[in-house]
Symmetry: D2
Subunit: 360 residues, 4 copies
């Protein structure tokens, strides 16, 4: 089913942008796991808007309410459901979206798929708001992985034409990843943040938006997690990462650049170091045959520019069949990339934790 | 489960490179579907080696034997199993792979995952040979989609540094795709084939290998197939495409390039043309919110250079913990990209057909 | 996953007896389906306690709150979540249950399974209270089936030694089933209710409890729903019915009595009547090879006596390893059978509706 | 999917009675498991016909051929496929079955479900012959469970009106179960076999058939396997046991008899014996809340009389709509019960082993 992810750590995300609540139901969290709900709440605040001129000034409290499955911070083993009330919804005239679909949005395709019965307000179930419950599930997975010494972190690789430095795939420390998680605008290169913010503000001034690339890493993984074929780490991560709205591309290790390399360069020689197997280089991004090698797991995801822009756009009036113009009011993000960073980490964590349970 | 794909058109791929047989068990093919088994056999020959100096001279008959589920070319509605006997296997000393894993292969990670009990001969279940049963499942899906007027085709976008022209995302005809399918080395630009072959032969001469990018398109799709979140067309295609060995990256529509665009450019305005809804441009690659828009569906996958190369490579002897050298004998592909083209189409077809059944 | 049921109409039941809320998340309800939420609320009241001396006097409001997936009574196509707040919980000393498990309950096995981390209060996730969200999912399925002319109904076949008449498997009308649904104590034979009530009251007076058998029927089903092997109507119904606490047996059509019949008697001859195929008798209970035949679908489920009884019982103190005595206070049902009737119908409806979607 | 069973030990059964082969594809067998293929072959012979006047004289070699997933008796961790060639098929005029369906068979319902495209020869995918691959999967599970000290065995509880003694639910030894497995006609009571055989031969002489009940037990199970709700041991066993053709009823522990008991009698008091928790009686049949208690797991399944009988039967000619008579030639079992015994054990083993893997 399409809003369900995972085999053994399995969750279903529910809700619409303007429904009474959104949330997630999770099965498969091992009984007796300790979850720090305060820390989870802080994790969710990383994706919340309202912090910054580069994001929508809309306030979303995103207060997580646990309905079941956890007691005194300890999981019961049975399903856990957590919800977030939708409080700050402005009910505009969303019926217009059915007649004049917003370019780059799911208004039109969603209407066809659901025979005009979907809830279009605020994007409905397609809204980026639904990444909040994804962060609940993934935030729990992050904590459970951390208890095993695994750290996941990311930085903004690019925004529009501005590039950050790249991770050194051979040298990514847990501390560095944790430091990035503490930054609202996580980048590696000094000065990158200011340049990127400027690119966003320039677009905002034009009533326009920009996209970017996020680079995500996981360290501390043992070798041997993941499965061949359709259960590989890439498949698992891809299935969840493409569930984040606006993701248009995904690559692992050397990624697309690998296509231009020769085998002699791309192949990473094995070495035994301090009694444990590792590789001399890390073009493979920590995954071979779908299975972790023990090297840092590395992937990059491309985020398209936010489709909601202030500029007047061309679209069609589906009723009349005439070309028309559309002005999207409301409060939108000129760039979703910074807010997508914790979502990417949550997604990676959910995929990796599920692969771990499947490897038992 | 990791070797199983699909929700309603669901199949499990089984076999090892050197086991008595490989094959696929498929559930969910609608009863009464007509399958042209002769055409399916021809489709499989597109991925078979032995045609060309750019591929391994190893002969694989790849004769498909149907065990059940089809009678007189008509599917029964109950599971269909088809197998290919492994006849031309040279049993080398594969025990060495456990001690001295081949760089870029799953020898090491597979051994960790399966506690040294996996069958390493010829790569075992991780072998590229397992794409043959994927072509059986996908080849059936291709025929079933064709019966609905949907055509899938691909071209080689790059090999090493040589680039073909790109598809024009607004103008991809079924005929053009069919013409590509008839070419052993499908490219759009005149001269591209020769340049690419030269790149492969150059690498071969050096005992090396090259990778490349495949661009794949599906036309004739109606709007409204696919699902939100983890059941989107991208998620479905990603989950299967990353199951093809050597795929390192995947992008849809404008893909990674979208990350550098502004929203005003990337957004595709809707237009009504001859009474049907379409878009004026196709940066979205035929998918919005995970659901088909009716425009050509377009994706690109990056294939790493074949890890099996003739050159002597460095690796570790896991027993002694010493560095050592490895020379991979046998018959290998200096470039897997041309043979991966029909596999990519098969994967796309399986994903799209499954999404179709889920949309009913 | 264990609290999830269904393939295409798929739901996960969550909550514990004393958690803030219980509920259900459903995927796969076709978009644009009309749900009468008022009628659903009334359906849930059929299982609510507090009506009668034969049930617990405990009041459970069981007010259904829809969080998403439905708008103005029309389903959106995306996940639907509905919850019931747990308001009337008396927090007793449930820690004792871990030391001195109640006979016939899951206190001990649940503690072993969940490493003592499960929530034992009120039975936790094992509580009969969790049949309320099952009634939400099944109640929705009942309405969707009713829109196709399918009616499901039941009567109490036995309570302890008191037997009702049995359904005539050849003559079950939709009206009769609807009439039964309007009865709080649905029986066919005049006088059966009084005798059954007396049996319950006798047990209650002794601080004891009784069980019984429910016979359930579905009429209006077309031929051709269900699947062979593990997806047969029996398998689907069994998988959900054994999820109702206290069910110990299940039989279809002639059931266990079939084991004593000869084939010549048990086989139901086919007849063509008014142009449609039917059978002259209905020992097969409307299912052949797992697939509906168009005849009334008929099954019986055995419910064990409520394990919570007022009498002092023997159990072990797991800490000391000594035998001890246990007195279960609180408000319990001396007989769960009447309240289990709508639950049985809900379960049957969910199974049948899912089979229908799988047959498309 | 309907011919697929299991979550972590997951298999798909394929084939038709008269297709080139039948078989099973299994995912999830832990790598490095030792399988005695010779013993598996002997297990399959327990269900093979041709031994006895009470079964069809038809010979089925049922030779198991492993295509992959196992090497030198050790599982690889990747999918295992095993097939049995169909050699001894008499191709009769099965088209008649579409016009004049056999009473008690799936001829009619299968044709409706599969739009007349199913393969009706010999019953197609609905044939009892498909229990052979179920015995492959279950036979492997039996061996894996035996390696953990778990034994599964059964006896014939009744055939027509002849009853065997019942298991003593408190005293079932592994040795006794193994002794039963060595008997072709496993019963507990001396003389029962002769009486039962006579009942079968009497029916055979009349051109008729008889059914019966099988009682199955598993001992050596630890407490804590299985899950609440739909993943309970009963649900898991029910989902697979109702996949055995002809099963019409299923009960656990005291079963239907529990419905007539009072709670004070049915509840099994806990006791601590030699430091481990057990119960003083075993009405619960080793399962509480869906989870094993450590006591013998006990269930009974009712098998209907074989629908294929020699006597002339009434049926309808679906083409003409007229009543007609049908004489089923061929070689049929007057009683399927003895051959169903190992199938029942295989089914139980598959369910229990899968529950075990899910409890990890």
């Amino acid at each position: 089913m399409s809003s369900t992810y995972g085999e053994r750590f399995r969750f279903t995300i529910f809700g619409q942008s303007h429904s009474p609540a959104i949330g997630v139901t999770i099965e498969g969290i091992p009984a007796g796991s300790r979850i720090d709900t305060g820390r989870l709440q802080l994790f969710l605040e990383r994706r919340a808007p309202g912090h910054d001129a580069t994001a929508t000034p809309r306030k979303e409290a995103d207060y997580v309410e646990f309905l079941c499955g956890i007691k005194d911070g300890i999981t019961c083993g049975t399903p856990l459901t957590a919800i977030i009330r939708n409080t700050n919804t402005r009910s505009g005239d969303y019926d217009k979206l059915r007649t004049c679909p917003r370019p780059g949005h799911a208004d039109y395709t969603g209407a066809v798929r659901y025979k005009d019965a979907q809830d279009p307000a605020g994007g409905g179930h397609f809204s980026g708001r639904l990444t909040a419950p994804l962060c609940i599930a993934g935030g729990i997975a992050l904590q459970l992985l951390a208890q095993q010494g695994i750290t996941i972190g990311s930085h903004i690789q690019t925004i529009e034409a501005v590039a950050d430095d790249a991770f050194d795939p051979m040298n990514i420390s847990a501390q560095a990843l944790k430091a990035l998680a503490a930054m609202r605008f996580p980048v590696l290169r000094e000065g990158a943040e200011e340049e990127m913010r400027q690119a966003v503000l320039d677009a905002l001034q034009d009533g326009d938006s920009v996209g970017g690339i996020i680079e995500c890493a996981a360290v501390g993984l043992p070798a041997g997690w993941g499965d061949p074929m359709f259960g590989g780490m890439e498949n698992r991560i891809a299935q969840i990462v493409f569930g984040i709205p606006a993701v248009r591309g995904l690559e692992f290790g050397a990624g697309f650049a690998a296509a231009a390399m020769r085998g002699s360069r791309h192949n990473d020689p094995f070495v035994v170091k301090d009694g444990s197997v590792t590789t001399a280089t890390n073009h493979h991004g920590g995954i071979l045959g779908g299975i972790t090698s023990g090297m840092p797991l590395l992937f990059r995801a491309a985020i398209k520019p936010t489709p909601s822009i202030g500029m007047t756009q061309h679209t069609a009036d589906l009723k009349t069949g005439e070309q028309t113009e559309l002005s999207i009011g409301g409060r939108h993000d000129p760039c979703i990339v910074p807010r997508a960073v914790p979502v990417m980490e949550a997604a990676a964590a959910a995929a990796i934790y599920d692969a771990y349970l499947c490897s038992l």
